[in-house]
């Protein structure tokens, strides 16, 4: 059953970008990006460091406004509805350091409730909520850390708390900024698989930046390559289930490695 269908209030979130530019003082992080993201698709963003992946994700999350061009989201939901249905796993995790893991995960559902109910749900959670949080933590392998202070965790543990928060939120648009950077390969694969399963189960749209193009090609329907703020690669899974456009030459070009020069 796909929960995030076009008929659901916040369901089926997709985007149309038309020549979108995001310029910071002295630096254009995205330039003339045109792109259509179908609701329910799973998309990987790859590209060298500084290419604009984080910037694109923040744009989709509504955390940034384009400085040029047009961004439209498909589906007639309000901004608030969309936000409540958007899960964002940030590159720096964006956790509240002094709170317990439990509270940080519970905070994922704040968008659904009004202020009072939301606060109650974070600071005086129901037994059912605590168990749901525990379940989300178990899925990313850190069930034991439920009551630990978040700033005492290792890098990878913090990253998984951020992922658990997004799982707990049950979003229809899931944006992940290098969600597995601090994880070992086996756990990385599992987490990516988890995100894909979640998206498919719910019919959610998933956009993830990853550094490992093999992970991208193996798990995602669509792989978009960014370089210096521009799209230089856009590959969809073919009938055979392969990403034929992800050739070594294309990747060489994307990452722009020219050995030996300075």
């Amino acid at each position: 059953m796909t929960i995030c269908s076009r008929k659901s209030p916040a369901g089926g979130i997709g985007f149309e970008l038309e020549e979108v530019t995001v310029a910071f003082p002295g630096k254009a992080a995205l330039e003339d990006v045109s792109l259509t993201l179908e609701p329910g698709s799973t998309v990987a963003l790859i590209g060298p460091s500084g290419a604009g992946k984080t910037t694109l994700l923040r744009l989709l999350a509504g955390a940034l406004e384009p400085t040029g061009g047009a961004l439209r989201d498909m589906g007639g939901v309000t901004r608030a509805q969309r936000a409540a249905a958007t899960g964002f796993i940030h590159q720096d995790h964006a956790l509240v350091p002094v709170l317990r893991v439990l509270q940080n995960v519970l905070a994922g559902r704040l968008g659904r409730y009004g202020a009072l109910r939301g606060l109650r749900s974070v600071y005086f959670p129901s037994r059912a909520d605590v168990e749901a949080v525990h379940a989300a933590l178990l899925r990313v392998g850190i069930g034991e850390l439920l009551y630990r202070r978040t700033d005492r965790l290792s890098g990878g543990e913090q990253q998984r708390v951020a992922i658990a928060r997004a799982l707990f939120q049950e979003p229809c648009l899931l944006l992940c900024d290098e969600p597995v950077a601090s994880l070992d390969p086996a756990r990385s694969r599992d987490v990516i698989q988890l995100l894909i399963d979640l998206a498919e189960e719910r019919g959610a749209t998933l956009v993830t930046s990853v550094h490992d193009e093999r992970l991208a090609g193996r798990y995602f329907d669509r792989v978009i390559g960014l370089r210096e703020g521009r799209i230089v690669l856009d590959s969809s899974r073919s009938e055979s289930g392969q990403h034929e456009a992800l050739t070594p030459a294309a990747l060489e070009d994307l990452y722009g490695i020219v050995r030996g020069d300075s």
Binding site: R100, R127, V130, E131, H134, A135, L138, G143, E144, L146, Y147, R148, R149
Partner: protein
């Protein structure tokens, strides 16, 4: 199954009885203050108090010239009254007050910044034994300096020194030096230590690591505290009117003694203007520093 796990984890969670007791003791003390008879809040709500307030505002605090002036001229009379007082007395008194506060705050800040790396217990290399002893002594010094209220210090120094201005400055500098030593030290302690530790681990001496990696990061906070103490110094030099040097405090005492509450309030206002200006300066300085590279 999960419920059991959750319950086990909940039982094992980190908790601090110390903090719970602190909260309980403080709440209990505050409650006792209000209901134990030491502080009588009900008396504040007698009708007599309201009458007094009305009288104070409409009679005591009303400059005679304004009271006597006809409707439209009241504003002009108020302006003339204030201008004369400011020009003849309060402007120079305010300047002296500000000058005392600035010198005192700078001396205090200098002392505090020297003490801070000593008092901070979590700086790079802080765990060694001699370092802990130094830290303890520095803290003790700070506590002694600031435990005696500046009002009392000024009282004592005023009897010792020939220069009332110096007595005032020293009292403020000693007291505030102790406070800044602690606040600066605490800022260093709470600051993100990773960079300083990285420098120290890379072999930089403690001083270099503190000054180089920590001070730039904490400078805005240091400035916050400096200006906050400057303000405090202005406020305090305003009340130190008993030393016989012509600050705003001097005129406040004179006005109150003569029952000229209008003049007293004007002097209060002058003090408030200096404090507000210090606030503004603080705001500008911190913005400049924070936005600077």
């Amino acid at each position: 199954m999960s419920a059991k796990d959750v319950e086990r984890l909940r039982r094992a969670r980190e908790r601090s009885p110390f903090l719970r007791w602190t909260a309980a003791v403080l709440a209990g003390t505050a409650l006792l203050a209000w209901v134990g008879g030491t502080v009588d809040a009900t008396d504040l709500f007698q009708s007599r108090r309201a009458d007094n307030l009305v009288r104070f505002l409409s009679v005591d605090a009303m400059p005679p010239a304004v009271r006597d002036a006809a409707g439209a001229e009241k504003l002009g009379a108020l302006w003339a009254w204030a201008r004369d007082l400011v020009a003849s007395r309060y402007l120079s008194a305010a300047a002296a007050t500000l000058a005392v506060a600035i010198v005192a705050a700078i001396l205090a800040s200098f002392a505090g910044a020297c003490l801070a790396p000593l008092t901070a217990r979590s700086g790079p290399g802080a765990s060694s034994r001699p370092r802990r002893a130094v830290s303890f002594l520095a803290r003790l010094g700070c506590v002694l300096c600031r435990a005696v209220p500046e009002y009392m210090l000024a009282f004592l120094l005023g009897a010792l020194l020939p220069s009332a201005a110096w007595a005032c400055i020293l009292a403020l500098a000693i007291h505030n030096g102790g406070i800044l030593g602690r606040l600066y030290g605490e800022t260093l302690e709470n600051a993100d230590q990773r960079a300083a530790r990285a420098w120290h681990l890379a072999g930089a001496g403690r001083l270099v690591a503190t000054v180089g990696a920590l001070f730039p990061a904490v400078l805005p906070r240091f400035l916050t505290y400096f200006f906050y103490r400057l303000e405090t110094c202005v406020r305090e030099s305003t009340v130190l009117g008993m030393l016989g040097f012509v600050s705003l405090g001097h005129w406040i005492v004179q006005a109150r003694a003569a029952g000229h509450y209008d003049e007293m309030l004007l002097a209060f206002g002058m003090g408030a203007i200096i404090v507000l200006s210090a606030d503004l300066a603080s705001w500008i300085a911190r913005r400049a520093v924070r936005d600077a590279s």
